[in-house]
């Protein structure tokens, strides 16, 4: 075991940190705020993302052949940790980087890799994910979007839902039914869809936070070249499982952790704020138990993520046990946002914009946002099924 970084890795970390300090907008983290308007915020983040790419900070661990930096997985993690530590703007091409790219690296043709990977890195092409449907949530494999071959094209009909970034995306990877006559897992295919194709309608969905991060997407005779198929026809389920493993695994969890740690620091500061009589929530041992448990939760997430990550570093693959990471962080984060409101007390339910809201109302908002975390990327119920059946081998 060795939790230290090499001198070269430490040097890399300093470079990243210095670059971020020099290149983030002046006043970032104090006087500078991201735009409140969603579209403007998207544009701001996209600019930032392209700036990172221009400076050579995109795809740290990707092969140079696909536009990456050819670095190590450790460097990739250091880079993401530093982004999170600086509270840098979030990426907008998350789905392209984290899901499309590893899926294509594992299952795409060389032509597909050459065509798509560099433009993912440069954020020239933003991606969205076409998996869930209104009647196929937990039971993803029951999806009904139909993909039918017609000459040298496919024709797509149906509906997807919960499609984040659909309104901004140039591309979408779609899981659709190509053979309705076989058992449901065996008739699915994985295809790449140009969002500029005629026949696509996007309708935003309003969330309980009032935000509109995700959409319904309707397909009406949408024509897709056959070359856009990833893997073999009717082999889509296996490919989608690769995608989901990356969505749930340690590479997703470790950078997320740094942001959660920032949130916890902020909660500890609320807890330490003196009240009228000079006492503080942080002096109350019942509250201290919950704050300590959040700290412990986070440390367990970090260490368990590092154990998985060490296996990746050794070249081992992460399989269904990725569900442990996803289940853990989603549930611990929900507990943490509740602790945050508890610490803030009666003012806890105040939202951003209220002058009296503790931490600017961040936690009332995050409490609401966190409710989705145990649903998306496979609900907690589905993750527990996967762990029980595919990790522990319990019968279906």
């Amino acid at each position: 075991m060795d939790f230290r970084y090499t001198d070269a890795e430490e040097q890399f970390r300093r470079e990243v940190r210095d670059w971020l300090q020099a290149n983030l907008p002046p006043g970032w983290g104090s006087t500078f705020q991201e735009p409140e308007n969603e579209a403007e915020r998207f544009a701001f983040r996209l600019d930032w993302e392209r700036k990172l790419h221009a400076a050579g900070w995109s795809g740290i661990s990707w092969p140079k052949a696909y536009g990456g930096r050819g670095g190590t997985l450790v460097e990739q993690t250091i880079f993401q940790e530093e982004l999170a530590r600086a509270n840098a703007p979030e990426f907008v091409n998350i789905i392209g980087r984290n899901l499309t790219a590893p899926t294509l690296m594992a299952h795409g043709t060389e032509a597909q890799k050459q065509r798509f990977l560099p433009k993912i890195l440069s954020s020239e092409e933003i991606w969205c994910q076409g998996f869930s449907e209104p009647n196929s949530g937990s039971d993803l494999a029951s999806l009904r979007c139909r993909l039918v071959a017609d000459a040298d094209e496919f024709v797509l009909n149906g509906q997807k839902i919960w499609t984040s970034f659909a309104q901004y995306a140039q591309w979408c990877f779609v899981l659709a039914r190509t053979d309705p006559t076989v058992p449901k897992h065996q008739g699915l295919s994985f295809i790449l869809l140009d969002m500029a194709t005629p026949g696509i309608t996007i309708r935003p969905l309003v969330q309980i936070t009032g935000e509109t991060d995700f959409n319904e997407v309707f397909f009406d005779d949408v024509r897709i070249p056959k070359a856009n198929l990833v893997g073999e026809l009717n082999q889509g389920w296996r490919i989608a499982m690769t995608t989901l493993t990356y969505e749930r695994g340690p590479e997703e969890a470790l950078p997320r952790l740094v942001r959660i740690r920032r949130d916890l620091d902020s909660i500890l500061q609320i807890a330490a704020a003196p009240r009228a009589d000079g006492s503080r929530s942080a002096d109350d041992p019942a509250v201290r138990q919950k704050l300590a448990q959040s700290y412990i939760d986070l440390e367990l997430m970090r260490l368990t993520g590092l154990r998985s990550f060490s296996r990746l570093l050794k070249g081992e693959a992460i399989g269904p046990e990725a569900s442990l990471n996803k289940l853990y962080w989603s549930e611990m984060y929900q507990r943490m946002t509740e602790t945050a409101i508890e610490v803030a007390g009666e003012a806890g339910p105040l939202m951003p914009g209220d002058p009296d809201a503790p931490a600017g109302g961040a936690f009332a908002l995050k409490y609401l946002q966190s409710r989705a975390m145990t649903i998306y990327s496979g609900s907690s119920e589905i993750q527990r099924n996967i762990i029980a059946e595919r990790v522990l081998g319990l019968p279906r």
Partner: protein, 365 residues
């Protein structure tokens, strides 16, 4: 020995429920957009709710908190916003602790549906200890002046009179009445905009003192009413979850046939029913039982925990659609969240319980 309501009490509940189901509901709530709905207020006044606890001598029904508790539960279930709950509860302390002049003035205005009251208690700087009151009451001739800020005062912007908790020169806290028109009132940006919570700034506002005991009583009855509302919310969320679980199919089965959902629903029912017992009991104990303080703390702790568990589980059972504005789950969850942290959360009330049960033992050992 009878832990059940009387026929009259159920009749009142049924008339409130009937009115709300005919003339209110989540669609109307959404349409109101957090604004005061005069028809709702008038309709509830038409049922005589505002006079429930007003003594008969002042034109009221002269009933008790036990009679009112089922109405508060219905208010929770239907997410009734606005000043009715506080009007009912403040009227009781005016009747008990007000001078003859105050009673004559306010109680008849309440009975006539002209006065709307709001209880201004929460403060932003209190952290999780609702007893950290910093609004100052200072004596000014024969009367008092109030200075400071309150938050999340329900419907203060349509109230006529505010009941305000404030710290007196002797360091104790008491209850004061002032005209809402004298305060600067703006809406809070609350997680629950429909709850009409307001920020109230008091800059040397003239006030009448009702005293320490009045504040203690009003805090206790408000805590019971918040508990009852959370039970109503939990009950509605459970019903919504069960109904969705019966109808939504995945894996070719209703999701309610999966044990994970079934057992979650069973736990939701358990939490709701046990907390309901505590809220009902506290409403009975409010009539003078020496165990009232303990009953209040138990009711708030149990109903806060239950409401949190049930609302969270209800959203989880709905999956993605529960996270959308279009479904009603979040309306229940958001109101529940404000109530959960009002008048002290479950952890705070558990410490109250510990304080009340532990000394007894110490004496005996």
């Amino acid at each position: 020995m009878n832990f059940d309501f009387s026929e009259d009490q159920y009749l009142l509940r049924d008339s409130v429920r009937g009115f709300l189901s005919d003339h209110w509901g989540f669609a109307r709530l959404r349409a109101a957009g957090g604004q005061f709905d005069p028809k709702l207020w008038e309709g509830l006044c038409g049922l005589g709710l505002q006079t429930l606890l007003v003594p008969e001598a002042f034109g009221g029904a002269g009933l008790s908190l036990e009679d009112a508790v089922l109405s508060f539960e219905e208010f929770g279930r239907a997410l009734v916003p606005g000043p009715m709950t506080d009007t009912i509860l403040v009227s009781e302390v005016i009747a008990r602790f007000g001078s003859d002049a105050v009673r004559a003035d306010l109680l008849s205005a309440i009975a006539a549906g002209r006065a709307r009251l709001a209880f201004a208690h929460a403060e932003a700087g209190a952290g999780r200890d609702p007893e950290q009151v910093t609004v100052v009451a200072s004596q000014h001739g024969a009367g008092w002046r109030l200075r400071g800020r309150k938050i999340l005062v329900p419907a203060a912007d349509v109230a006529t009179t505010l009941a305000v908790s404030a710290r007196m020169p002797d360091g104790c806290c008491g209850l004061f009445l002032c005209s809402a028109a004298d305060a600067r009132v703006e809406r809070n940006n609350s997680i629950d905009p429909d709850g009409m919570g307001c920020r109230v700034d008091l800059a040397d506002v003239a006030a009448i003192a009702l005293g320490e005991a009045a504040l203690a009583r009003l805090v206790a009855t408000s805590t019971v009413a918040a508990s009852a509302q959370m039970i109503g919310i939990a009950d509605a969320a459970l019903e919504m979850a069960v109904s969705y679980a019966k109808q939504r199919t995945q894996f070719d089965r209703p999701i309610g046939s999966f044990q994970a959902i079934k057992h979650k629903c069973a736990d939701m029912l358990m939490a709701t029913e046990t907390a309901r017992s505590a809220a009902y009991y506290a409403s009975w104990a409010a009539a003078g039982d020496p165990g009232f303080g303990l009953a209040v703390a138990i009711a708030k702790a149990a109903s806060g925990d239950a409401c949190r568990l049930v609302c969270n589980a209800c959203l989880q059972i709905h999956g993605g659609v529960g996270f959308t504005w279009a479904f009603d789950v979040h309306l229940l969850m958001k109101r529940g969240k404000v109530l959960e942290y009002s008048f002290g959360d479950a952890t705070w009330h558990r410490e109250k319980v510990a304080g009340l049960i532990l000394p007894e033992v110490l004496v005996s050992c």
